[in-house]
């Protein structure tokens, strides 16, 4: 009888790993706590850097799923333990699952922008997050101010909830700079006469094609990049938002009014406390799960039979998540053969 793998979390990582494990001949069960598979892919409209529709990537992941894969949605693991060479898990529905290996692919949470109160999210009318903007694009809605007008000037704020000791997240979320540049271009494509400003500390355009997007934003769309972290934001009586930054490349303070502010929210660790406690897993100071070895066991935990893939071990792109999911599937196969 073929061996069984339990996958926790049906985002990009869980789905891709599932497809590969099935091809390798293992029986896969996926437990997903929400009502649908796909994770954050369900929330994004078009992906950086290629601008491919997120739905297309999700379809591809779904096509690769084996028809015999058991997918249990709307379910939470309440207990999980490694017993000798097997894993036993109980769900809140009363169901029990036993498996020979488990893949944790629980992903990440979006930073809650309300915690950065001084930026006025859900206090000021015209402050939204990058995730809200994705929703507007995904639903094909028009981008307007709270009063239903076409915005003439939009500011995109980098590093919201990242690189910020005060909110407890000192790390870089890696995906928000390029998301901000992509969204700046998308805004210009919808509203060509709207001025768009990106307020950044560093532009982290590290991956293939990212720098091209940045140049496209500047040269083709005349997006303006202002190096300086948002310091103050306050709402004017007409609903516009006055922002203050230092233009650090000029060494001068600067103020301007914006019709709409987009906060590039970062990635924070998901709630893995149950797994941490019951499977004795480690988390770092950033609260993400820590693999057994950063170079050679980047998809394994220190616990026998427990593996990781995707953003549960730190911010990463979908491309990197997919690569990791495949690596994890192979690592699991190697483990189960021995």
């Amino acid at each position: 009888m073929s061996k069984k793998v339990l996958i926790i979390g049906a985002g990009v990582a869980g789905l891709e790993a599932s497809g590969v494990l099935s091809k390798l001949g293992y029986n896969v069960t996926i437990v997903e706590e929400s009502d649908r598979i796909g994770g954050k892919l369900n929330r994004w409209s078009h992906l950086f850097p290629s601008r491919r529709p997120a739905s297309e990537v999700l379809e591809h992941l779904q096509l690769n799923l084996d028809p015999n894969t058991v997918i249990i949605t709307n379910s939470k693991i309440t207990d999980i333990a490694v017993k000798d060479t097997s894993i036993e898990a109980s769900l809140n529905t009363g169901k029990h699952i036993d498996a020979d290996a488990v893949l944790i692919s629980t992903g990440f949470e979006l930073f809650d922008a309300k915690k950065k109160e001084e930026y006025g999210y859900q206090i000021y009318e015209n402050v939204i997050t990058s995730a809200d903007l994705e929703k507007i694009f995904k639903e094909g809605k028009e981008l307007t101010t709270s009063k239903g007008k076409a915005p003439k000037r939009i500011g995109i704020i980098h590093c919201v909830g990242s690189r910020d000791e005060k909110v407890g997240n000192t790390y870089c979320s890696k995906v928000c700079c390029v998301t901000g540049v992509k969204q700046a271009i998308e805004i210009k494509e919808h509203l060509s006469s709207c001025e768009v400003f990106n307020f950044y500390m560093d532009l982290r355009m590290y991956d293939r094609h990212f720098e091209d997007l940045y140049q496209e934003a500047q040269v083709k769309h005349h997006v303006q990049f202002i190096r300086g972290r948002l310091s103050e934001a306050f709402e004017n009586p007409d609903g516009t938002v006055m922002v203050k930054v230092e233009d650090t490349l000029l060494g001068k303070p600067m103020k301007m009014n914006l019709d709409l502010v987009v906060l590039l929210v970062g990635m924070t660790a998901g709630n893995n406390s149950l797994f941490k406690k019951q499977l004795r897993l480690e988390t770092g100071t950033d609260k993400f799960l820590v693999p057994a070895d950063e170079h050679f066991k980047s998809v394994s935990s220190k616990q026998k039979g427990v593996f990781f893939a995707g953003a549960c071990t730190g911010p990463k792109t979908i491309e990197n998540t997919i690569t990791e999911a495949r690596a994890a599937a192979l690592e699991i196969a190697g483990y189960l053969k021995n």
């Binding site: 303006q224 233009d247 490349l249 001068k252 303070p253």
Partner: protein, 112 residues
């Protein structure tokens, strides 16, 4: 005016809303490669004018984009149009023509 023994400091803040961006628009039309600038400072590092004065082409481009025209006008006179910056710029900004365009645009918009 009586001398109170102190003076009022000038406001250094860039008031983006009040600054006109006409000069920048005029320059960008004449030399669109200005949009390629990534504010790296390679130009200013090699510039003789920047070595002896507070002039910097990198800064001048930013001042132009922010509408700080007064400072652009004092800056641009420092350039000797030697063209060294153009050899150095990694982004292919046509710096020499950019500076000439700034000078001509200033004349046209009669900021003197």
């Amino acid at each position: 005016m009586p001398d109170f023994g102190y003076k009022i400091s000038k406001d250094r803040q860039i008031n983006f809303d009040e600054n006109s961006k006409n000069l920048f628009a005029e320059v960008a039309m004449r030399e669109p490669s200005v949009y390629r600038c990534i504010s790296c400072g390679t130009c200013a590092a090699t510039c003789s004018a920047a070595q002896f004065t507070s002039y910097s082409l990198r800064k001048m481009i930013l001042l132009l984009k922010r509408g700080e025209d007064k400072e652009v006008i004092t800056s641009v006179s420092r350039c000797m149009l030697c063209g060294k910056c153009q050899l150095a710029c990694p982004m292919g900004v046509n710096t020499r023509n950019l500076i000439l365009s700034i000078q001509n645009a200033i004349k046209k918009l009669s900021h003197v």
